[in-house]
C-alpha cells in the first residue's frame, strides 16, 4: 500500500460531523486499523474465542452470548478497579483533553478526542450499570451494545496508544489509558485482539521474547555484535548468558537485539559494561523486558512478566537492571512489584562501580540502565570524549511511559549532555510530562496501520522539525524500543534528515576504553568527526 502524501495527510478537518456521535456510524478504515489476531496466537495462551476472522468481515464470529460476556466483564471490572469506575462516573466533558491527543491532532476525528473515546464505552456502562441510563436511555447518554457499537469500541480502543498525555491535563486525572486498557481486556474476552499484539504475546510465551528469538539465535546475534564491536574498537567483549551467580541480571527489550538502530544501543551497553568490568549476565529466557501482555489484559501481562523475577531467582543474582524501553518501564515501575512482590530473594540494589544505593528501587530491586549510567558518569568512573559525537546535533524525545508513569526526565538528559556537545530541547509543550507519543505505542506499531501511525506521529515529528530547522538537529535520542523502531520511518516521512538513536549508543561512541584501537568510525560504521578521510 502506497503511503498517503504528507500534503494529503495534512488536510485535516477538525469540524465534527453534523449528526450526533451516537448517530454517526463508524466506518473502519484501512490504514487505520490493525489486522485481527490469528487463531494460533490466541490458542497459545488459551485466550477466549480463537478463530480465523478479519476486521473487514461483516461477521466477526463472536460467541453467541457475547453481549452477556462483555457486560459481565464490564461489571466485574468496575468492581475491581477504582480508577475505571471513577473515570466512567465523574467526567464532566469539559473538553480540556480533546486536543491533547496526538491521534486527534493528526486526524481531526472527533471520536479520537479522549473524552469521546471514553464515552464510547461510558455510554454502554450507563445503559447496563446505572439506574439513570437504564431508565432514560439516550437522553442520559446511554446506548445499547450492538455489534456496530462493539466494532466502534474496538476500532477506537486500538487508536489509543495509552500514552496518558490527556491525563496530565484532566482536572480529575482521568486517564484514558485506564479506559482503553480495560476496554481491550473486555474485547479480549471475545477474542478481539490484533495480531500485532497477539503474535508477540504468543512468541513471548514460547520463547521468552516478543520476536520469538530462540536461545541459540540470541547467542548468534550477540556473536555478531561482538565481532562488529571488535572491528570498530579493537576490543573483544565477552557477554555471558544464563550465568548463575552473576551480580546483576540485565533485561532489555528484544527489539534492541533485532533491528537497527536498537542494536546499536545493545552494542553500546556491551561496551560500557565491559569497560566497567560489571559482573552481569544476559538471559535467553528472560529475554524480553517489554510486555505486550499489558496491551491484552492484566492477567496476560502478569503471565508473561513473572519470568523476569523467576529468572533472577534461579540465577541467584543480587538485583535486576532494565534496558532502554518505554512501556516496559511503565510495567516495571508501576506493576511488576504488585504482581510479583515481595521480592525477598534479591538485595537492595547498590552500584558495584560507585557504591551508590538506589534508594528509589529498594523494594522491587530493579534499576533503570540510565540511572545506573548517570551515576557512573556523575562519579567520574569512565572517560568520555564528547567530541566523537560532534557530528550529531541532538534532541531528546521523552517516551510517554518513562515520562508520565515515572517522571524520568533528568537522568537521560544528564547522560546525553555528558556525551555530546550539541543538545537542543524541543518546545516545552512537547517534551517531559507533555511529551507526544511516537504515534505507534501500545502495540500499534504494525505496518498495516501506517496512516494512523503517521497521523498520530505528526505532533512529535512536527516538534522535531522545529528544532531541525532552527538548530540543524539531525539526531533524535530516545530510551524506548518502540521509538527506535517507529521514529525512523516517521522522521523519513515528516522530517527527512533526522536519524534516531538510543542513549547508550551515544555513550559508547564517546566512551574512551582501556586498550581500544584508534577509533575511526562510530558503532554504525560512519566516520567519526575528523576521521572522514581515514
Amino acid at each position: 500500500m502506497a503511503d498517503p502524501k504528507p500534503e494529503e495527510l495534512l488536510k485535516i478537518d477538525f469540524k465534527p460531523h453534523r449528526t450526533g456521535w451516537m448517530d454517526t456510524p463508524t466506518e473502519l478504515k484501512k490504514g487505520i486499523f490493525c489486522y485481527a489476531g490469528k487463531q494460533k496466537s490466541l490458542e497459545t495462551l488459551g485466550m477466549p474465542n480463537p478463530r480465523a476472522w478479519a476486521v473487514s468481515d461483516e461477521d466477526w464470529k463472536l460467541p453467541e452470548n457475547w453481549q452477556e460476556i462483555f457486560i459481565e466483564g464490564l461489571r466485574e471490572r468496575v468492581s475491581k478497579y477504582r480508577s475505571f469506575r471513577l473515570f466512567l462516573d465523574i467526567c464532566v466533558r469539559c473538553g480540556a483533553c480533546a486536543d491533547k491527543c496526538h491521534y486527534f491532532i493528526g486526524s481531526g476525528d472527533p471520536k479520537n478526542m479522549p473524552v469521546l473515546r471514553a464515552e464510547l464505552l461510558r455510554s454502554v456502562y450507563r445503559k447496563y450499570c446505572t439506574t439513570s441510563g437504564k431508565i432514560m436511555g439516550k437522553i442520559a447518554g446511554a446506548r445499547e451494545l450492538t455489534t456496530d457499537v462493539l466494532k466502534e469500541i474496538w476500532y477506537y480502543a486500538y487508536q489509543c496508544s495509552e500514552c496518558r498525555r490527556c491525563s496530565v491535563f484532566c482536572p480529575y486525572g482521568i486517564d484514558t489509558a485506564e479506559i482503553t486498557i480495560l476496554a481491550r481486556e473486555l474485547l479480549n474476552l471475545l477474542g478481539l485482539n490484533i495480531e500485532w499484539i497477539a503474535g508477540p504475546v504468543a512468541n513471548c510465551w514460547n520463547t521468552g521474547n516478543h520476536l520469538g528469538l530462540q536461545p541459540h539465535t540470541i547467542k548468534d546475534i550477540f556473536e555478531m555484535f561482538v565481532d562488529d564491536i571488535e572491528k570498530i574498537t579493537g576490543i573483544r567483549v565477552n557477554p555471558t548468558f544464563n550465568r548463575k551467580g552473576a551480580e546483576i541480571l540485565l533485561v532489555v527489550p528484544s527489539g534492541s537485539l533485532f533491528a537497527d538502530p536498537g542494536t546499536y544501543t545493545t552494542m553500546g551497553e556491551l561496551l560500557l559494561f565491559h569497560e566497567l568490568g560489571l559482573d552481569y549476565t544476559w538471559s535467553t529466557f528472560a529475554s524480553e523486558g517489554g510486555d505486550f501482555g499489558f496491551f491484552t489484559s492484566n492477567e496476560v501481562a502478569k503471565r508473561l512478566h513473572s519470568k523476569i523475577y523467576e529468572e533472577a531467582k534461579r540465577l541467584k543474582v543480587k538485583w535486576i537492571m532494565g534496558g532502554e524501553c518505554g512501556h516496559m518501564w511503565r510495567v516495571w515501575h508501576q506493576y511488576h512489584n504488585t504482581w510479583y512482590g515481595p521480592v525477598e530473594f534479591l538485595e537492595e540494589p547498590v552500584s558495584p562501580i560507585t557504591g551508590t544505593k538506589f534508594e528509589n528501587a529498594k523494594s522491587n530491586k530493579t534499576v533503570h540502565i540510565c540511572e545506573f549510567t548517570a551515576d557512573v558518569i556523575r562519579n567520574n568512573k569512565i572517560n568520555l570524549d564528547k567530541k566523537r559525537n560532534d557530528n550529531l546535533v541532538v534532541t531528546y524525545h521523552d517516551s510517554c511511559n518513562t515520562a508520565r508513569a515515572m517522571g524520568f526526565f533528568e537522568e537521560p538528559r544528564y547522560i546525553i549532555n555528558s556525551v555530546c556537545n550539541k543538545f537542543y530541547e524541543m518546545p516545552p509543550n512537547t517534551i517531559r510530562e507533555q511529551t507526544f507519543c511516537c504515534g505507534s505505542g501500545s502495540g500499534l506499531n504494525a505496518s498495516e496501520d501506517i496512516e494512523l501511525r503517521l497521523r498520530g506521529g505528526l505532533p512529535r515529528a512536527n516538534a522535531v522539525r522545529h528544532v531541525h530547522k532552527k538548530y540543524g538537529v539531525n539526531m533524535l535520542a530516545c530510551i524506548c524500543a518502540i521509538d527506535r523502531a517507529t521514529l525512523p520511518p516517521l522522521m523519513d516521512y515528516w522530517v527527512p534528515g533526522v536519524n534516531v538513536t538510543g542513549v547508550h549508543e551515544m555513550v559508547a561512541n564517546a566512551l574512551v576504553m582501556k586498550g581500544e584501537k584508534k577509533r575511526t568510525t562510530n558503532l554504525r560504521g560512519d566516520p567519526l568527526p575528523g576521521m572522514e578521510g581515514e
Binding site: R93, T207, F241, G341
Partner: protein, 330 residues
C-alpha cells in the same frame, strides 16, 4: 437534543412550583417537605456514592507523574507534580482541588501552514472554572446567614467584602455578577466550540441551566422582586431547628428559587457533579510515585499460569546445549 431537553426540564421545574404555590397553594410541600427530602437525598446520596467508590479496590499504583521523580540527591525532584511521600500527595491534591492545577496547564493546539503545530497557553476555561466554583462557594457561605442567629462574624466579613463597592441599594454583591458571568461563559463555550458541543450531553446542559436559573432567581429576588427577608429567615430557621413554619408573606419567587436549589441537591448524587467528591479519590492524583521503593498490594492479586524455566529448557535443551548455553538438566 440534550440542550433543548435540559432547557425545558428546568423551565418545567419552574412551572411546577409556580402552579404548585401560586395556584394550588402548596407552600408547605415546596417550603418544607421537598427541601427536607432533597437535603437528605443529597446527604445520603453523596455518602452512598463515595462509599461505593471507596469499596472498589485500587489494584495498582498508577499516579500520572507530571514532573521529575525522586532520584539521586543531585537531581531536583518536583515534589508537587511528582510526590513520593504522603505529605507531597496532600500538597499535590491541595493544588488540584483548590487551584485546578491540571486545568491550568491547558493549551490550545493549532495547525498552521508549514506545517507548524503550536500549543498556545489558554487559561479561559481554568479562569471561568475557578471563578464559578469560588463564587458559588462564597454565595453558599453568605446564605448561612439564613440558618444562623446571631450571624457569626466571619459571614458578616464575607458579605462586607463581597459588597465592597457599595453599588446601589441593596448592595450589589460582586460574586453574583461573576457567578452569572462564569455560568454564561461555561454555557456559551459548550454551544460555540464545535468539539465541546459535539461531546455535550443533557447531563452537561441540565446542571448548567439549573444552576444558572438558581442564580437568576436569586438575583431577581434580591435586587428586583423584593421579597420578605424577615419571613424567609423565619422559614429557614424553622427548617434548621426542625420546627418548620410557613410565613404567608413570602413571594412565589422565593419558592421557585428554593425548589430549584432542592432539585440541584437531589440531582447532585446521581450526576457528574459528583466530581466534587470523586477528585479526591482519583488514583492518578492521590497516590505517591514511590512504586519501586514501597510495594503496593493488590487485594485481588491471584496466581496465574506461567511458562516456567523448566518448561522452556525442555523445549530448547538440545539447541541450548549445542550453543554452549548452560542447562539445569543434562
Amino acid at each position: 437534543m440534550g440542550l433543548i431537553f435540559s432547557f425545558f426540564a428546568v423551565v418545567a421545574l419552574g412551572v411546577i412550583v409556580f402552579i404548585g404555590v401560586k395556584v394550588a397553594g402548596l407552600r408547605y410541600l415546596f417550603g418544607v417537605i421537598i427541601p427536607y427530602a432533597a437535603f437528605f437525598a443529597f446527604l445520603i446520596g453523596v455518602v452512598y456514592r463515595v462509599m461505593q467508590w471507596a469499596r472498589v479496590p485500587v489494584p495498582f499504583r498508577i499516579p500520572t507523574t507530571a514532573g521529575q521523580g525522586k532520584s539521586f540527591d543531585w537531581i531536583k525532584q518536583n515534589t508537587i507534580d511528582n510526590p513520593s511521600t504522603s505529605i507531597g500527595v496532600i500538597i499535590r491534591m491541595a493544588f488540584e482541588v483548590l487551584l485546578f492545577r491540571s486545568l491550568f496547564r491547558n493549551t490550545k493546539a493549532e495547525l498552521r501552514d508549514g506545517p507548524q503545530l503550536s500549543y498556545g497557553s489558554t487559561k479561559w476555561l481554568w479562569m471561568a472554572g475557578l471563578a464559578f466554583h469560588y463564587t458559588f462557594l462564597i454565595i453558599l457561605i453568605r446564605h448561612l446567614r439564613l440558618f444562623l442567629e446571631p450571624i457569626p462574624l466571619p459571614i458578616e466579613i464575607v458579605e462586607a467584602l463581597d459588597g465592597f463597592f457599595q453599588v446601589g441599594a441593596p448592595v450589589l454583591y460582586i460574586t453574583d455578577l461573576i457567578f452569572l458571568g462564569a455560568v454564561t461563559f461555561l454555557f456559551l463555550r459548550r454551544v460555540v466550540v464545535p468539539q465541546v458541543r459535539y461531546i455535550s450531553l443533557a447531563a452537561d446542559y441540565f446542571p448548567l441551566f439549573l444552576i444558572g436559573a438558581i442564580g437568576v432567581t436569586g438575583v431577581l429576588m434580591r435586587y428586583f422582586l423584593k421579597t420578605d427577608v424577615v419571613g424567609i429567615k423565619e422559614l429557614t430557621m424553622g427548617l434548621i431547628t426542625f420546627s418548620p413554619v410557613i410565613p404567608q408573606t413570602i413571594g412565589t419567587i422565593f419558592y421557585i428559587h428554593l425548589f430549584l436549589v432542592s432539585a440541584l441537591f437531589a440531582y447532585f448524587p446521581m450526576s457528574k457533579l459528583m466530581h466534587m467528591a470523586g477528585v479526591f479519590l482519583s488514583p492518578t492524583r492521590n497516590l505517591a510515585n514511590n512504586n519501586r521503593a514501597v510495594m503496593h498490594v493488590n487485594p485481588w492479586n491471584y496466581p496465574v499460569k506461567v511458562h516456567t524455566y523448566a518448561e522452556y529448557e525442555d523445549d530448547f535443551r538440545d539447541k541450548m546445549k549445542a550453543a554452549g548455553l548452560p542447562v539445569e538438566k543434562e
